[in-house]
Amino acid sequence: MKLSLPLTMLLALSLAPAARAATEADYKAAYAAAEAASKEAAGMRNQWTTTVSTLAAAKKAAEGGDFDRAVAAAKEAEALAKASIVQATSEKDAWKAMEIR
C-alpha cells in the first residue's frame, strides 16, 4: 500500500532521541528542514496552525540559547508539517468517500 510507507518513515523520524546536547548547528539544520516542510505544506494550502506555532517556539528557544528544546521543537514542527502534507495528499481522493450521493 503506497500510502503507508511515508507514514512509518515519518513516525521513526519524530521519535529519534537526541543523544548529546544540541548545538546551534544542530538547531539550524533541524529548523531548515522544518521550514522547508512547512513551506511545502503552505504551498498545498493545507498548513496547520500547530506547525506554525511549534516553529515559532523553536526559534524562540534558540534565541534563548536553549538548543536542546529548540531542536526538539524544530523536529516536531517538521513532523507536523509532514503529517499535514500526508493529509493533503491522501485527501485528494479520500474526500469522495464521505460525499453524500
Partner: protein, 287 residues
C-alpha cells in the same frame, strides 16, 4: 510536549490508514451533476431529520434542539443584530464621495437580491460573492474596500439579506465548464479533512448535526449559509460568511486562507446551490 504530539500524530496516521482501507473503491472522476448533488444533499437531511420542517433547516442549531430554539426565539423578539441592520440600511443609502450609491452597482438597486448570491461571473470565469461584489462596488466608486470579517461588511450584508428574507435561495450554475469546476471545487473543499484535528466541514455538519461540541449544537450543512451574516454571542458581534469560514478553519487547527480566496468562494457557491429553494433567513442570531 513531544510525546503528546507524537501520540496525536500516531492516531492521525492510523486514522488515515484506516480511512484509506474503508474506501477501497476510489471513484473515477465522475461527471459533475449539481442537480443530482443538490437532490441527494437535501434528501440526506430530510431523511435524517424527518420531523424538521424543510424550511426550518436554515435556522441551523435551532432546528435541532428545542431548548436552544426557545432561547433563540426569546432573542429574536429584539435581536442583537438590530443595530447592525440599522447601520447597514443607513450605509446602503449614504452616497459615495462621487455621489453614487450601492444601489447603482446592483440589480434592482440591491433590494431583495441576496438569494441570487453568489453567482458565477462568466466574464471573470469565477464565483462572485455578495461580499466581493460590495467591495468591488466600493472600489469602482473610489472608496476603500471594507474588511471581509469586520462590522461594516456585516452591516451591509445584513441589510441586503434582510431585504430578501423569506425568498428561496436561487443560485444558478450556467452551462459553462468553469462554473461546474467551481461547484466541484467547492464540494471538494467541503468534504476535505484539514487541520491537526483532521476534520472536514462534513465531519461536523453532515455526520453529527444536532450533536454537541461542548456547549454548542452543530448546525446541519443544509441551509447553513441562508442566515448569513450572523450575530454570534460568542463573538458578541456580527460575523460575515468569510469570518465564519476563517474561524471554523482555525478551530480545527488549519491555517485559514485569505478571505474571498477561490476555495472559500467555491464552497460558498456549493453550499448555497444545494440549499436552493430554502428561504433566506439572514441576518441571523447564533450562539
Amino acid at each position: 510536549m513531544k510525546t503528546r504530539s507524537a501520540l496525536l500524530l500516531g492516531s492521525l496516521s492510523a486514522a488515515l490508514v484506516a480511512f484509506a482501507l474503508t474506501s477501497p473503491r476510489v471513484v473515477a472522476a465522475d461527471k459533475v451533476d449539481p442537480v443530482a448533488d443538490a437532490k441527494a444533499f437535501q434528501n440526506f437531511f430530510f431523511q435524517k431529520f424527518p420531523n424538521v420542517k424543510h424550511e426550518d433547516f436554515v435556522n441551523g442549531p435551532y432546528s435541532m434542539n428545542e431548548d436552544m430554539k426557545r432561547q433563540w426565539q426569546e432573542k429574536e423578539e429584539f435581536p442583537p443584530y438590530e443595530f447592525a441592520l440599522d447601520a447597514g440600511k443607513e450605509m446602503f443609502a449614504t452616497p459615495f464621495k462621487n455621489g453614487k450609491t450601492y444601489a447603482d452597482c446592483f440589480p434592482n438597486g440591491g433590494i431583495g437580491i441576496r438569494q441570487n448570491y453568489p453567482y458565477f461571473d462568466e466574464k471573470e470565469g469565477k464565483v462572485v460573492t455578495l461580499e466581493l461584489a460590495l467591495n468591488r462596488c466600493r472600489e469602482a466608486n473610489g472608496e476603500a474596500p471594507y474588511s471581509y470579517v469586520k462590522d461594516e461588511m456585516a452591516s451591509l450584508t445584513a441589510y441586503m439579506a434582510f431585504t430578501s428574507r423569506g425568498k428561496p435561495m436561487d443560485i444558478k450554475i450556467p452551462d459553462d465548464p468553469r462554473a461546474l469546476a467551481a461547484f466541484e471545487n467547492g464540494k471538494r473543499y467541503f468534504y476535505t479533512r484539514r487541520g491537526q484535528m483532521n476534520f472536514s466541514c462534513a465531519s461536523c455538519h453532515v455526520q453529527s448535526p444536532g450533536e454537541r461540541i461542548r456547549a454548542e449544537i452543530l448546525a446541519p450543512a443544509l441551509g447553513i449559509l441562508n442566515a448569513m451574516p450572523i450575530y454570534r454571542s460568542e463573538w458578541s458581534g456580527m460575523g460575515t460568511t468569510s469570518r465564519r469560514f476563517v474561524t471554523c478553519n482555525s478551530q480545527t487547527r488549519a491555517v485559514p486562507l485569505e478571505p474571498q480566496s477561490d476555495e472559500y468562494r467555491d464552497v460558498e457557491y456549493f453550499l448555497s446551490y444545494v440549499a436552493n429553494g430554502l428561504p433566506i433567513s439572514g441576518p441571523g442570531a447564533r450562539p
